[in-house]
Symmetry: C2
Amino acid sequence: MSLLVVGSIAFDSIETPRGAVEEALGGSATFFSVSASFFTKPRLVGVVGEDFPDRHKKLFVDRGIDTTGLATAPGKTFRWKGRYHQDMNTRDTLEVHLNVFETFEPTLPPAFQGSTHIFLANSSPVIQAKVLDQISKARLVMADTMDLWIETQHDELMALLPRIDGLLLNDSEARLLTGEENMVRAGRAVRQLGPKFVIIKKGEHGAMLFSEDGVFVVPAYPTPDVVDPTGAGDCFAGGILGYLDSDDSPPPGRLRRAMAFGTVVSSLVVEDFGLRRLQRTNRNEIDERLEQYRAMLSF
Amino acid sequence: MSLLVVGSIAFDSIETPRGAVEEALGGSATFFSVSASFFTKPRLVGVVGEDFPDRHKKLFVDRGIDTTGLATAPGKTFRWKGRYHQDMNTRDTLEVHLNVFETFEPTLPPAFQGSTHIFLANSSPVIQAKVLDQISKARLVMADTMDLWIETQHDELMALLPRIDGLLLNDSEARLLTGEENMVRAGRAVRQLGPKFVIIKKGEHGAMLFSEDGVFVVPAYPTPDVVDPTGAGDCFAGGILGYLDSDDSPPPGRLRRAMAFGTVVSSLVVEDFGLRRLQRTNRNEIDERLEQYRAMLSF
């Protein structure tokens, strides 16, 4: 099997109540692929500027990530600057410079077009559809989206939803998309728009899965050490698809187990700035935390 | 074993996005004891006014609740009026008339003083301490509290905490009491104040348990039919202590199982106004939903 992610690669400057960091390697495709790399060898498609240092490319390669689809364009790499509030659940975007990402038109290397698992990280549904057009025989396509696209590219998003297997969005986005306040109703309503399954992310409160098997609730792993929440959602997705790409067992339990792995990786990434915590972990620690998490939920 | 609850009995007038109800039977001791009555025969201590109808007393008796400690005082029963916001998670209190509850000094009937399980429903820590003074040999005392007492009777609350086994409070109250934003840190910090275990309620996001065995996370049962959230927290507590009072198995798993039962009863009560949904359920339905809940959490 094979896992492809198409998304952003960025430099994040972040302030949280626990400290600050300047121009740390980030972006949705970065967090996703590093998270997935604990389970499989993801294929990364994205664009960086001429200022992107070799040591970051080496980080990807060292984690077994295939960078054949990593393009370098004239100009600077995408930059984002944000500040988290005291509760760590809300943040203000202080600066966004899309730079080379603004005109990014993903072209998949021929070898990537037959990938079995695809993650369309958060970007315009037009771009996401263009990626899908290049895919020949995916087993499972999951897409992320955000309030901006729900509001400004509604029709394009509606056209995309029946073409994907899974949609990932957060609780306020699910409300915006469906008009339903109740999350169970909202999740069911999103499924009516086309995706076979829907995952609603609730930040520190975990996530919910809606599929033909009903509703599955996934509390967050309760870590006392939240330093920087950036990337948690993409690491959640990376754990899910990374695990799915590595496990060929029958479907019913697979997606739930995948969500548990996604939960564990996202609980790790928030324990330090950027990718630092993931650079200090390994599959062993992930498996151990998964067992703690399982015990924590059993009664 | 035997379960005692001391708390309020009220008439609730409630508006929610799903409808409205006038002067429905409510109050913390009411919701608690009706919830607990699915597991054991609770003893109720509270006060009502001369306007309290016999049919409400009959409702308690029909559910096996011992009303020996239900006092009738000159005047009117406690009344509360509130309106829930569109999201059902927040509400405005429109009117509070404490009436006979204002001067309530609970006196336990002699037969109740040896109760093994005690729930001190939300009231001033001074009143809660006076109840404790009358208890001779409880196995487990759990207390509820609220922001008002944390702010206005802080010292009295601090004096109470080492005398109880478990404290129940919601997430914003835990933040207020400890100054910790992170719920894992807040839960641990509350335990340092005296209680052997702490349960932090997070509304539609479930609850967390902190005990000597570590952290246990309890997502809410995801019901699509939230009609009226009033009483959910007290039904959660009633399910916990009702179940504990009925189960004499070894401790480690008991409290977790009890919280799962509390979660199920609170997911039922919110599906209609006041006590209506609980009046249409039975232990069978509770057990069935518990199994659905268990399946929903397993991976």
